[in-house]
Subunit: 257 residues, 6 copies
C-alpha cells in the first residue's frame, strides 16, 4: 500500500483491536501515531507482539495504554517495542513513583531486561540502557482525583516523560458523574496542560469532540487521539445506511405515486 | 448492547474480517444482513465457525461469499449456519449446475451431511433435509462474461435461489477495464435484474455509490451491500483527521497573528 | 440452531474454554446460565471479547469467574458484557471492600469507563452508570477461611450483590484437606446460605454431586453450576466406550465358542 | 495427566475441534485413535499442525478426514504427521485412482515432499520414502453411490490401504433419504466389509448406535468411531440437567406440601 | 529494531510459519527476501494477512509459495500484498497456462479484483491494473517431469515472470528417488537456468547446500533461498548443545581424576 | 518424528513462543527441558494450555518462568501442567514467602485447586495434594539485590525447591550496569551456588556463553538453559548467509577476471 500522506505524529488513532487494515487505513490518511487501548480492548499477547513492530514499520508512534499500573503489562508493551506506555489508574504521587519505575531500567527505575526485539535479539550494553530509557516514554494517566492533585509532582519525577489524561474517569472520580465536557472538566484539563508546560514535558488528550480538539491544540498538547476505531466504524457505517434509507423511501414514494 | 433500530434485511454491511464489534455496530444502525467476503478477506475456519452463529443471534442474515466454486468452502459456510452462499467465478450454465449442487442435498444436489450446528448436534430426518434445502439460499455470482450470457438459464436451475453480481470483475471480463460505472455496466446490471424478475428469484448488488444504490432499489434488488467495513473505516477516520488538521491550521494562524 | 427448551437461569454450565458449540449444546438442553472459569481455564482476551456477547445472544447469563481479585480482570469481564463477575480468593472483609469496588462505578466503587460494547460504542450518561451498577452483579468468592468468617459483613457491602462458594478451596483452607463433602463442608455452606438469605442477596454453588444439588435447591441458592464442560465430556465419552468394550468381548466370546 | 488405561486403537473418538483436553479425556478412558473431522469441523492449519503431534504423543492414532478429494488437504494432514488420511467424496474408481495418489510418493503416487516434521526437519532418503508410503494409510470414503459400485476395484489400488464408510451421505446418495439404519443401509455396509476382507485391507465405520457398533465388530472393522465430541458433550450435559430438574420439582413439591 | 545491514533481495530465508521475530532476525542479517512455504507450512489466513505487509514494511520481498495450482490460494497471496506467487505442481504447458492466469487481471489473465490492501482499500483504475500485472510476479514451479519438458514454452507465457525449481519433487518425479544432488539433478537445473536466460526471465532455487548455492550463483539465479527456518533452528540449537555436552564430559572427567 | 537422542534434563532450551516445531527440534537433539519465558515472550493462555502438555509428552521438563510474582500466572502454569514455576522479581525473603506460597496447596501454601488436567479432569484427594506439592517445583528468581542478600533464607523456605538466577537483571540491580560477565557477576553466582548446595536444593542458570556453561557445570547447577530460541535462529540464519555472500563474491570476481 502506498502511503501518500506524510505521517503526522501529533494526531493519533485510538485502536481497540490489532487490525492491520485499520492501521494501514489510518496511516494512509496521515495519522502518525496510535493509542492502543490494551486496558479496555482485546489485545492478546501474540497479537500485540506482532502489531507493535508493524505499526512502527508504518512510521507510526505506538502509544500503549496498558492493562493496569503493574510491572507485567508495562514491561510487555516495552519489550514488544512500544514508543510510549500509558499507565492507567495511577492514584497519586507515591503510586506514580512506584509504577512508572517499571518503565525505566536501574538505577533510574526497575524495568527488567529481555533479550528480544528491542535489543536486536541479543545482549545489551550500558549505552543501550541509556538509549531505551531516553527514547521510550512513560506517561502516567491523570484520571484519578489523587493524581490530578499531585500532577505537578508526578510530572517532576525522573521516570515520567509526560501525562495522559482520561477525561471520563476523571469526571467520575472528581464527583461530576458521567463526562459531559463541562467547564469544570476543562478546568481540570487546563491544570494538566499548565503543569506539563511548566515541567517541559508532554501531555496527551483523547479529543473526540471539536471543542476538545481545539482545547488540546490551543493548550499545547503534544499528541491528540482524534477518534476511536469503533466510533469511526459507527460513523462510516451510518452515512451510507441513512443514504440508502432515504433513497428507498424516495423510490417507494415515486412508485406509489 | 441494545439494538434500538429494527433489523432491515434489505441492507447489508460488507465485512472483511470476523469483527464482533463491527457486527454489533452495523446491527445497532439497522443493518439486517452481512456479506462475508470470505473470498478476499481473512476468515479462518475457527473464526467463521464462531462468527456465523453470532451474526444470526443478532438477527442478521449471513450471506457468505465463499472462497471459490468448490465443494469445500460452500459446504463449510452452510455447516456453520450461513443463510446464503454466494459462489464466485461461476463461468457458465454448466459450471453453475455443477457447483451450485454442492449447496443442496441429494437428490436435488450433492451437499454432504454434517452432524453439527445445523442439525442441533444430532442426527437428521427427511424433513430436515427439505428444510435446509428450502431455507438456505444459493447465489452463483454473475461476474464472468459466460455467466452473464447464461444468466437466464442459470436462474432457472433448481439449485439456484438467486444471483449476486460482481460489477468489478464483470467489467474487467466484459472488456471494459476497471469498473467505472458506465452505461454498459448498468446495461449488464439491468439484464441481471430482468432475468431475476422473470425467474421470480432474488438478485443482490454491492452498491457503494449512490447511483448503484438507486439502481438496485429501482430494479427490485432483494438485498444491497451498502458499504465495505474498510471503506467505512476510511471514511470514519478521515473526517476527524480533516477536522483536526483544519483546526490546527486555524490555531496556528491565530497564534502567529 | 433451534433452541427448543426455554432458558432456565437457575442452572448453569461450567465452561473451561470458549467453545461456541458447547454453549449452543448447553443452551439447547435448557441451561440458562454459564460460569466461565477464567481463573483456571483458557480464555484469551480476544476469545472472551467474542464469547460473552454470543452467550448473551443465546439468552444465557454470563457469570465470569475472573483470574483474580484485581482491577484488570474484573474490568475486562464487565467491559465485554458479563452479567456477573465472580472474584476468587477474597481474603476477608477489608479485601472484599477493596476489590469489589472495581465492579461498580464511582461514587459507589472504582470501576473504569470504557466506551465500547456496554455503552453501545459511544459515550455515557449518569443513567447509564446507574443501570450498569444495578444490572451487573458482583460476587466475591467464599473460599478463604477469612472470607467465611466475614461472610455476613461482606454480604452487607453496597458493592456486593451476592456470594459464590468455592467448596474445594474452602475445605483446604478450613483445614479439612481435599474436599470430600463432609458434614463440616455442608455446615460452611449452610452458614453462607443463611447469611445470603438474611442479606436478601444471592448465593451460588458449583454443585457437581446430587447431594450438593439438593442442598443448594433446599437452601435457596440463586443459581447452581451443575457440571463442568470437561466432566460432561468425560461422562459422554465413557459410556459409548464401555458399551463398545462389552460388545467386543461378547462378539469375541461368541466367535471363539 | 496419567493415562491409566492402555490405548485401544480399535476405538476412536470423533473430534470436531482441536481441543487438547478432549483428547486427553478420551485417551484416559482408553480410546487409542481419533478421527479428526477436518471436512466439517473447525481445524485451522496452525491448530492442526499442533494437534496432530500432540495426539501421537498420547499414543493415539490420528485418522484425518480431510476437507476434500484434493492434493492440498491430503498433503497437509500427512505433512503434519497424521497416520491415516480419509478422503471424502470419492466418486468412483477413476476418481479414487487420481486422488489417493496424493497420499503416496512417486513412483507409487504423486505426494509432494516437505522437509518438515515427518522427515525430522531435514532431508530424506529412499528408505524414508518407502517407510512413509508403508506406514501412513490412505482411506477413500465410500459415501457416493459410484464409489460403492467400485468398492472392490478401489480396494485393489496400490495407493489404497482401506476404506472409510460415510453412512449418512451414502444413504442420501443411494436414494434412501436421511440415514435411518435400514436393512439396505446394512446391506451396503456388508458389501464394504466383504470387499475389505477379500482385499485383506481395513474398513472403518462411524458407529454411533449399538447396532452399528455390533455390526462393525462382527464384520471385522479395523477401527470404529464410537461417538462424536459434540454428541458426548450433549449426553454429558443432559444427565445432570435432568437430575437437577427432577430434584427441583421434588424440592418444590415438598415445600408446598 | 535497527536493521544495520542493507537488504539483499538475492538471498531469501525460507519460512514455515508466520514468526515476526524470525523475519526481523533474517532481515537484520541482510536477507532481503523470504519464501513463505504456504504449501507445506502452517500459515492461516489471518496470519498471512498480517505477515505479508509486515515483511514488506521490513523491505523484504515476499515470495509466496501457495498451497496449490488453484485460483483461491493464488488470489489470496496477491490480495494480501505478496510480490510473487510460486505455484506448485504445475504439470505441463497447458496446466501452466490455466493456473498462471489467476495471477494476472483480464485481459492478460483471470485474476479477481479485491478492494482491499493492494488498492489502498478503495476502487481501482486501468493504470492500477497494469501496475499490479507488472509489479507482481508469477512463478510456476518446475517440479513435475511434464513441467520440465515444457519449461521453455512455459517461460514464454505472458502470464509467467519466471520459474521456481523444486529439486526434491523433481528428483522423485524424474525417477531418481530421493533427492541426492546427483549430476542428473544438476543437469535438470541447468536446463531450467538456460531456458530462463533465453527467455530473459527469472529463475529461483532453494539452495541449502554449498554446491547448490554455487550452482545458482554461477547460473544466474535471480534469487536463492539459503536455508529453512527449521533447519536454521536445528543448527542453532545443536551447536550449544554439543558445546555443553563436551564441557560436561570434561568437567566430569576432571572431577573423577 | 523419531527422537533418536535420549532426553537430557540437565540441558534446557529457552523458548520465547509456543512453537511445536522448535520443541521437537530441540528434543531431537537431546534437550530434555525447556524454559518458557512467559515473562518476556508471547505465550497466550490457549497456547500455553496446549504447549505444556505437548512438551511433557515429548519427555521434556517444563520450567515456566511466569509473568510476575503473582497468584494468577503461577497458578495457571501449574494448572496447565508445568513441572516447575520460576517466579521473577522476588524482592527479598518476605516477598519470597508470600509469592512462593501460591505454588503449594494449604496448609503448606496457598495454591488454588482446579479440577482440570493435573487432576485428570476430576476431583482430588489428600494424596494428590501431597503429590502435587512434591512433584512440582517452585523456583524464586535471584535477580534483585534484596533476593541475593536473602538467598540462604529464601532457600530454606518449605515452599521453595530451588532458585533460578537472572544474571542480566541482577547485574543492573547490583549497580554494575549491563551484564558483561565480570568477576563480580560470577561472585554473585557463586554465592547462589553455595547456598543451594548448603540447602540441598537446585539452582538453575541461563548460560549462553561458554564461561557460564562451564561455571554452572563446575558448580553443580541442576539445570542450564543453553541458548535462546531467537539466538539459535540468529546463528542458524547467519551461517548460510555468510557462506552465500562469500560465494557470491568469489563467483563475481571469477566472472570479472
Amino acid at each position: 500500500m502506498d502511503h501518500r500522506n506524510p505521517a503526522n505524529r501529533q494526531f493519533a488513532a485510538w485502536l481497540s483491536d490489532p487490525s492491520f487494515a485499520a492501521a494501514e487505513i489510518a496511516r494512509s490518511i496521515g495519522y502518525g501515531a496510535v493509542v492502543l487501548d490494551i486496558e479496555h480492548g482485546a489485545f492478546d499477547l501474540a497479537d500485540l507482539e506482532r502489531f507493535v513492530p508493524f505499526l512502527k514499520s508504518l512510521d507510526m508512534e505506538v502509544i500503549a495504554k496498558v492493562l493496569g499500573p503493574e510491572r507485567g503489562p508495562i514491561q510487555q508493551a516495552l519489550d514488544f517495542g512500544a514508543d510510549a506506555v500509558v499507565i492507567p489508574h495511577v492514584e497519586n504521587l507515591a503510586h506514580a513513583r512506584t509504577v512508572t519505575a517499571f518503565a525505566k531500567f536501574p538505577p533510574l527505575g526497575d524495568r527488567s531486561f529481555a533479550g528480544g526485539r528491542t535489543s536486536s535479539y541479543g545482549g545489551f550494553t550500558d549505552a543501550w540502557v541509556t538509549q531505551q530509557d531516553t527514547q521510550t516514554r512513560c506517561y502516567p494517566m491523570i484520571e484519578d482525583a489523587g493524581a490530578l492533585e499531585d500532577v505537578e509532582a508526578i510530572l517532576s519525577l525522573d521516570t515520567v516523560d509526560g501525562v495522559f489524561v482520561g477525561p471520563s474517569d476523571l469526571s467520575l472520580r472528581r464527583g461530576r458523574g458521567a463526562y459531559s465536557r463541562t467547564e469544570d472538566d476543562f478546568a481540570d484539563l487546563e491544570r494538566v496542560a499548565k503543569a506539563a508546560a511548566a515541567a517541559g514535558k508532554a501531555w496527551v488528550l483523547p479529543a473526540w469532540s471539536i471543542e476538545e480538539k481545539e482545547f488540546a491544540l490551543r493548550n499545547g498538547a503534544d499528541q491528540l487521539a482524534l477518534t476511536m476505531q469503533h466510533g469511526a466504524l459507527l460513523a462510516g457505517f451510518s452515512a451510507p445506511y441513512e443514504q440508502a434509507r432515504t433513497l428507498a423511501e424516495s423510490v417507494l414514494s415515486q412508485a406509489s405515486a
